[in-house]
């Protein structure tokens, strides 16, 4: 059965190549992805919001995101909000290390002190991840406490970016205008494989699933439900 992507926290680093703080953001995000919270985090390159497709731009609407910026320009936080969705958390490295920035090394090679800051920022990100996913972390075992972790992956994964795996979306006509619904193709495939035929009870379940990933205005719920159900019926007839 096709599975909807697991809810994870999206990490977006500014990666500012001109300043050491930008390198701190990139390395801190990599540390969280590779070793601190590999099962619960994903990333995407910030410029992909402009250069990619709708699926890429849906990233922050699908995942709660943490933006990590090197300086007060806050390119990652502002860019994410502008093109995808408002980040749940915004971290600015220069806020906490401005007095010490001379000791961080260069943008190309961080000093030992710079690498310490990477560790501190990575720990800060990991704490926010736990909070956003409501994870309770067992400091002794170094793993999540039983029952507090969302769907674990069965195999170790190589931490990578989400480009090329954008969240599938579909455009529907609702109340006279076109709206893009994130994850709709996956939801349809999941429902059909579960043997759920288009019906009133399926309609309620469909709109509930769609609402997880999309904002549905209260006063337009019935219009959304009608459009989604009609599209689902067409999907089932078409055998897509």
């Amino acid at each position: 059965m096709p599975e909807l992507p697991t809810k994870k926290v999206g990490l977006i680093a500014c990666s500012g190549e001109e300043i050491p703080e930008g390198t701190v953001t990139r390395l801190a995000v990599r540390k969280v992805l590779e070793s601190l919270r590999p099962l619960h985090t994903v990333t995407i390159c910030l410029p992909l919001f402009l250069a990619g497709g709708e699926g890429d731009r849906a990233f922050a609407r699908f995942h709660p995101t943490i933006a990590i910026d090197g300086c007060e320009k806050r390119c990652a936080a502002r860019g994410t909000e502008m093109f995808s969705g408002k980040p749940a958390v915004s971290i600015v490295v220069s806020d906490s290390v401005s007095a010490e920035s001379a000791g961080l090394g260069t943008a190309r090679r961080l000093s030992e002190k710079g690498m310490h800051v990477v560790g501190d920022v990575a720990d800060q990100i990991a704490r926010h991840v736990d909070h956003l996913l409501d994870l309770k972390w067992d400091r002794r075992s170094g793993g999540p406490v039983d029952g507090s972790t969302p769907q674990e992956e069965s195999k170790p994964r190589q931490a990578a970016c989400s480009c090329g795996s954008g969240i599938p979306s579909q455009v529907l006509r609702v109340a006279g205008r076109e709206v893009t619904l994130i994850a709709l193709p996956l939801i349809f495939a999941q429902f059909r494989e579960a043997g759920k035929l288009p019906s009133d009870s399926t309609k309620a379940q469909l709109i509930e699933a769609v609402r997880i990933y999309n904002l549905i205005p209260d006063d337009e719920e019935s219009a959304y439900a009608r459009a989604v159900t009609e599209e689902y019926a067409a999907f089932c007839r078409g055998g897509n």
Binding site: S15, G16, E17, I44, C161
Partner: protein, 136 residues
Amino acid sequence: MREKVLIIPCSGIGKSLGSVAREASYMVTEELCRDRTRLMPLALLVLGDKETRTELSSAEVITIDGCVKACAAKVVEGTGGTVAHGLQVLDVCRRHPKLKPSGISELNESGHELAHALAEEVKELVEDMTGGLSNA
């Protein structure tokens, strides 16, 4: 005084190829052509920073992309710049099939060699664009 050629890497964070693009950009702007080039972070262009766009509009630009998404080239062209040369690490990989880059936070030896090969290609382009030899 002639304006510096802008070198804009893709900001890739998820693949080794993005790290190769970044490292090659540093080699060009800090070592091979430091008096003729300047590195511009792509993140500033994503926001459409006014000062950055102004600089971009009047400069010659070389973009270095890690993957076929070509974020650097697309963002530059989408924000008022003109890409004089758009390079892709994947193309350089094909020209150096024995080099297998790996690692993202820290590139392996092969990755550094690939970055160096790419940087040398960029250096030649910069010399063509600016006329004459760059500083070593």
